[in-house]
Amino acid sequence: MATKLKDVDVVVVGLGWTGGILSKELAEAGMKVVALERGNPLNPANDFAVPNIRDELRYVVRHELMQNAQRDTLTIRNNISQEALPMRRLGSFLPGEGVGGSATHWSGHTWRWTDMEFKVRSMYEERYGKSFIPDDMTIQDWGITYDELEPYYDRFEYTAAVSGKAGNLKGQIVPGGNPFEAPRAREYALPPLTPIYSSVMFTDATKNLGYHPFPRPSANASQAYTNPDGAHYGACQYCGYCQRFGCEANAKGSPLVSVIPIAMRNPNFELRANSWVTKVIKDSDGKKVTGVAYTNVLTGEEFEQPANIVLLCAYAINNVHLMLLSGTGQPYDPAAQTGVVGKNYCYQNGVGATLFFEGKYFNPFINAGGSNATIDDFNVNWSFDRGPHGFIGGYNVAGGFNTPLPIGYRPVPRGTPQWGTAWKAATKKWYQAAMTINSSGSVMANRNNYFDLDPTYRNAFGQPLMRMTFDYKDNEKKMGKHSADLVNSIAKSMNPTRVNEASSRDSWTVVPYQSTHNTGGTIMGTNPKNSVVNKYLQSWDCHNLFTVGANVFPHNGSYNPTGPVGALAYWTADAIKNRYVKNPGPLVQA
């Protein structure tokens, strides 16, 4: 029998970026906040110290900071006719676990998604006509606008020590930045990172081709920095151990450096780590939730934590899982086209080429999480005419490295023997002499890509695993081919000695690692028929339940999702502080 605990104002499920932001903001507004995190507490000074953090096997290969698939995973399949089987080992994507969440091991790429995503259906319909959008493509406008979100993007960027160069200041195009970005009110918190050699080469090559390269905006502090809350960041050391590692220099934008320690000092806030939420508890009339049930994974004890407001701030996939397990909202049925919870799961679609330059030295171990250059000419550039190519969405292309460590990164030309003296000779010859060009592409929602509960497999708590049904559709295949052709044309223009060409990926597979940018499942929208939450990320069904994460994205863009995820956390915090607590109820009338 679960022990019922004392009421609090707010219970936060999951303590990463979004849970950290909301915990800090709501505790400062005088609310009693309890955060339940299913993983361990982590402390940068103790857990991310040199030399132990410099361990590729432990952190990259063995996934120390990631969700433990032994306890909880998903089942996966490409289409509805297949039997879903468990993702027995993490591969394609790597949700973080522990205090700090995925924000501990991210690379820091922080983008502002624009109205090209938020108004995707209306913009494409207006320009290309309704028939340009396939019948099974379930994209929709998000219900928010870039202008509404701009101050919150700004707030997140300054909190997370984002380094970059503005390309559009209040409508004025600024040299050196991304000319296709939406207008921003001011510069980035910090100047851009110093470009590594591969990034310099990519910049020169894409300029020569008439494209518009710019430094990738990243939450890797290019200089020591104190954020508006007084949190101190160190300067990035370009250590080459960024993605999948905690940062020993406190230079990576992280809630463990910023919002979480500030919340921890506030007497209104309490963190309970190793606390695994199994269910959101609904009120008898189903119009509200009363709190959550959780298990202390150190003891097995079960608790009920009553709360006036429940915030689901776990990894995107796990937020959707909790809503399906709890019966908050109607599950999506792809055949009947009814229900919304689980709808519009999306991923991303990237390609990559490796370029070999005999005699050059790239020093691939010298890099930051975001020290590469990017072009957006085929992404948020609306003047790129998709009509002749027949796809919706876009892709960004980057040249450089991100955490190329030697177990995983030893580039050799295709056809090289895989072992023996010839393999060693090639490995030695090309390690220093190679660079990569990669694209990351959007994925439009499709009626047959979705989440529901698996009928067979269970997690460590005896609950059904979530089932993911996903594959790339014609739209993504066309864009994948376009991006591969483009990447190969840039590579060719650089005149490498050898090149491993990019090719498009037509079917999603669980191995190898691709991207931890899983979106959708509890999407936002304009009414309860097309969405699970309103524009304030408030459940249409239960007005005191909110969920903040990429699970609210109605489709996936080409950019990394953390920019809008962080901005939406501040946006939701303001809506709760300034409006909801004064008059609890729906913030948008259905």
Binding site: P51, R54, L57, T194, I196, Y238, Y361, N363, G420, K424
Partner: protein
Amino acid sequence: MSDQDSGPQGFARRDFLKGAVVGGAAAATGTVAAVTTAEAQSQSPQPAAAPASQPGYAFLNIEEAAFVEALVDHMIPADEFSPKGTDIGVNIFIDRALAGGWGKGERLYMQGPWKRGTPNQGYQLPLAPADLYRAGIEATNAYCRKTYGGKPFDRLDAKQREEVLVGLSGGKITFEHGPPARTFWGTVYQTVMEGMFSDPIYGGNRDKAGWKLIGFPGAVAVHREHVEQYRNKPYTADILGIADLS
């Protein structure tokens, strides 16, 4: 290379060890270490990494140890680029990995039912990595005995070993009884690479031989001042691992 020539890395050691169980473990350890060192010195243009003492095995049995030693010395031969696999501890890395949490299925979802699935659904066997290794070695040796006149992998000559590895990696060899050969090979290949390029604290990459091969500087990584200075210039520094800094 004749079967006789492959003796020190396979035949002699294997039979000696089997006899040594009766004859006394201490004698066996000393003798085998001497054999290994002598062979390394005779074959390797590079000085062998200091063998010090045989660290011993925590998981591999005698036949498995012989297989793994033969495998890593074939994949990583002694040449101008590095000492051979056993001289840089790749066999020890593999043994420790299989004996430890990873080998026993840590972070691996191990509930049934078990189905073959599609390639896109990834690993679906009811085997932890150590079980897969054990079953795969047995199946590979069964294949070798059938194909090469009764000899297990470690008694094959270099050309035959090459044939087997090409067959495993290319999907031409399938096991009559045992796990899918390519799944086994995928795990074998990954662990050999891990053993050559992971931090030496795990038993492989001894003397940073893998890192030296490519010029990876290891765990010291304060490059803020190096980004511009070393554009298109070779960066060299003492290669240091976790133990050097602890």
